[in-house]
Amino acid sequence: MLKVVVVGLGKIGQRHLDNWEQIDGCEIVGLVSRNQYQLDRFGKKYQAKTGFELKGLLNRIDADVVDICLPTYLHFTNVKAAAEAKVNIICEKPLALHVKEAREMIHICQQNQVQLYVGQTLRFFPAYAEAHNQVKNGAIGNPGVVRLSRGTAYPGEKSSWYGDASKSGGVILDLGVHDFDWLIWTFGDVERVMARHIQKRLDSENEWEYSLVTLRMANGTIAHVELSWAKQGLETSFEIAGDKGMLVNSSKETVPIQLMNRSETSAASYLPNNQLEESPFLKQLSHFKDCLEGKTEPIVTAKDSAKAIEVAEAAILSASLGQPVNLVEKGALR
């Protein structure tokens, strides 16, 4: 039995709980949240010990892995607490707000000899995993221009922590780490990044944030990443053009079932998404469980995650300078 502690019972924490529940050979032994109602509710459901903070809880119970589903700015202290208690860690993306912090977290985990896995869930999305494999197998030949787009509605409740860049890193870090990680995984390191970024003006009613990022990979590939917190729901797409072909995919075009109910006033409702089988979150958590049990090597490491953060940080810097930021020159990759 893999004994799991879930930290944070917001949307993502609850989603992880749902997925853990579906995985054989694991048990929710502990829950951490600031919200007493959620603690009572899920503590009762899973018959798990509960607490307001991780360190205290880990003193009281025996756990194999801590699954951290907290806002980004709280990752560091919780990863540190788990590592010092010698418990393995799964941490929600982005691992940290800054690459320096991410590297320190990796170092702390190494020193304490615990595993640190980061939920770069995009690698578990079938379309993106397949595209990665096709590119690696030469399906498009030499890559030329890669276009990625990722958009969601403005996250969280009004004035949530997402809107505070010092807590979330903003859209470039929070959404960008998915696509930046996928780019690095598929095409190698980033050489240079140029970003434009714009967000809610003081006089506008709705909250939104948006960025257009241009990247030059070390292998010469040009990439363009659109990141939007100004959509209505999750919308993603990729277009990977090479000298022997092009791969195109969009979440809007891959919804196989559209449900229309005439009695409802809304024009059309869609089934939640285009993931019909095992959810990418389930795949990810099952994979990390297999890794912890020594059955396989991780598809994505904390170091990979740190690289994606490094690119996001460079993009944020670029947007504020209005100039490209060169990653290789900075020597930051080493």
């Binding site: 030499n142 221009v145 140029m194 506008s204 948006y210 257009l212 241009t214 040009i222 000298d243």
Partner: protein, 331 residues
Amino acid sequence: MKVGIISFAHMHAQSYAKHLLNLNHPDVSLSAIWDEDQQRGEAMATQYQSDYYQDLDAFLQTDIEAVVICSENANHKLHVTKAARAKKHILCEKPIATEIDDAKEMIAVCREEDVTLQVAYPVRFSPVIKRVKEIVTSGQIGDVVAINGTNHGQMPGGWFVDKSLSGGGAATDHIVHIMDLVRWLLNDEVKSVYAELDTRFYDIEVEDCGIVSLELESGVIVTIDPSWSRPKTFPTWGDVTVEITGTKGNLSVDALKQHSLYYNDADQQVQQLPWGSDIDGKLIDDFIDCVKSGRDPSISGEDGLRTLEVVKAAYRSAHQKQSLLLERVEI
């Protein structure tokens, strides 16, 4: 009204010729064709029931009122200035020129001779794009804050990849349509330009791909992908798409979306067969109306120049790996 065509080097000339002859304007005739390539010129004259002239001066001495210029980009300056001196109104294929000084001179000569100089940006006449302009202007999506545009194409080959004739590759060919669209939609100008340009798809001497990243004077952010990245199997020549983000909503625009998909066994191809209206025809209608009425052109020489300035800045930026402030020349 008699119209002539200067050169069929650019394939759009065929489309313009066809529309000059259509029933919308029975009083218009395509009476003269000049082409440097005698064989091509004679073939076109036969096809469009026109007269071929081997000598450009002789062509310009005829009683044509207006000319459509579809020569290679680098020859636009010579042909526009000559036509203007001969008092012909001009519709010039895009890009207006390959150098900013050339564009300036062309504009000045046309002004001096009091002839119309219109640049061929037919995308403005697309019913899709006209509707987009109406929606943007109505404020339905609030203030526009960002535009993510593409004008992809297949690699055209021929003189398009000969720098001495084209002035450049994909950046020269494909930045201008989206750039013109952005300027026209927002009544805004470019403040700073960054570009990544490269030759990654074909063994040619000009760039075949890239991304241009812009900030407009108003703070709106824009990227344009002008790449010749459509594979040979792509179902049409390319695309024109813009994702517009506003403070209250978004517009997702695909100007070529209105087509039937044709699974063509005979040619072993899947093809888009457009059924939306032909924008080249609307451009020709507009130009003829402009010449007849004497009004200002819908798309001016300055529109051509301002978009060319962005293209030239993109080349400099890609070379210097820096974002550059755009300095607009005075005209």
